[in-house]
Chain length 209, copies 2
């Protein structure tokens, strides 16, 4: 668990790096910034502990994917497809939008990686995302029916994922359009809406033709 603050220099550097990478992106972040924020006036510490800026980023990226993967979908098997969809949406909304800057920092790093992938992304997607997505596709197929082509199942998953992820990347624009909305909606209310909307959407797709 590299998350809890054990007070070590290495950990303070890691925490500071997560914060600053999330805020400014990889290229804009400087090792001097990180060291300063970590309280170390030693600009060599990142090379000393991590072997360089890129290796530090790589370690953080691993941490991002692992953190999200820790949220296991609880006893998926015993649930109906609709219940599984609800849990799927709630879990992801909570991951992305629960309180705590730490979670939103990890999300920001993940989003930046989505938009402009580093060389590490492919391997991480294979290792962490691919198995999950298989389950999600099966869940959707169980709702809309076996007669639908695989492309339709994927499109439905995209429709749901797009809704879940929206605020993660579009918040800067949304917040300017609606300045009265000071923060992303409460994750429970958001999950409720997305579930209702998505069930409606899936029903419409199921009834096609």
């Amino acid at each position: 668990m590299p998350l809890e603050d054990d007070g070590s220099t290495r950990n303070k550097l890691l925490m500071a790096a997560i914060r600053i990478f999330a805020q400014n992106g990889y290229k804009e972040t400087t090792v001097r910034q990180i060291c300063k924020q970590a309280g170390s006036s030693n600009i060599n510490s990142i090379n000393y502990y991590f072997g360089g800026k890129e290796a530090l980023y790589r370690e953080i990226l691993e941490l991002v994917f692992r953190e999200y993967d820790l949220r296991k979908d609880p006893d998926f098997a015993s649930k109906t497809p609709e219940e599984r969809l609800r849990i799927f949406i709630e879990t992801h909304c909570e991951m992305l939008y629960r309180e705590g800057e730490f979670a939103s920092d990890l999300t920001a790093i993940f989003m930046a990686e989505m938009l402009k992938p580093s060389p590490f992304l492919t391997e991480l997607v294979d290792r962490y995302n691919r198995p999950r997505v298989k389950q999600h596709l099966a869940m959707i197929r169980a709702i809309i029916g076996d007669d639908k082509p695989e492309a339709t199942v994927r499109s439905c998953l995209v429709s749901i994922a797009g809704q879940i992820l929206y605020y993660s990347f579009a918040w800067p624009v949304y917040a300017r359009l609606f300045p009265s909305d000071k923060t992303v909606p409460d994750h429970q209310k958001l999950a409720d809406h997305i579930y209702r909307f998505s069930m409606g959407g899936l029903t419409a797709v199921k009834g096609k033709k």
Copy 2:
């Protein structure tokens, strides 16, 4: 129209800059790269024609928003809300996913701006996006009914926009998950799916309570 290639040095620089900004982002892009790609072996040309790297980016950003704004929603008034929704979805899918690297370059710049806004974003959103969004909210309200709170209308717009935008930012991950999908779905098919799914979702929201 700064789009057509008139062969001037200034225009070649602009085109090259759009391409490279889209590919690498603002910070990673160097003026030397742009000049080289534009065929000018003069690293001073950007200062000469645009007044600096930042001013060049600013001009491109203006161009991005203006280009998207050119797509006027055609005779919106004479249509039913459902027809307007269909046009809305089709127009945006076509804007984002029609062939041509130029369009996708503009999209990439817009997405990067969404995720990590430059100081210019606020003004551009006010000038270009805000008026449109008002129309879109009215359109959705006309479908789900006047009794629904404004927050619900916004959530529905988010649900639709999230679907439309998904591939724009998540393509690098999606493409790794489904390597057989060589490209973003045909924009017409995509629009069909999103319309069906969204009408189902809106119907579900309309029938709530």
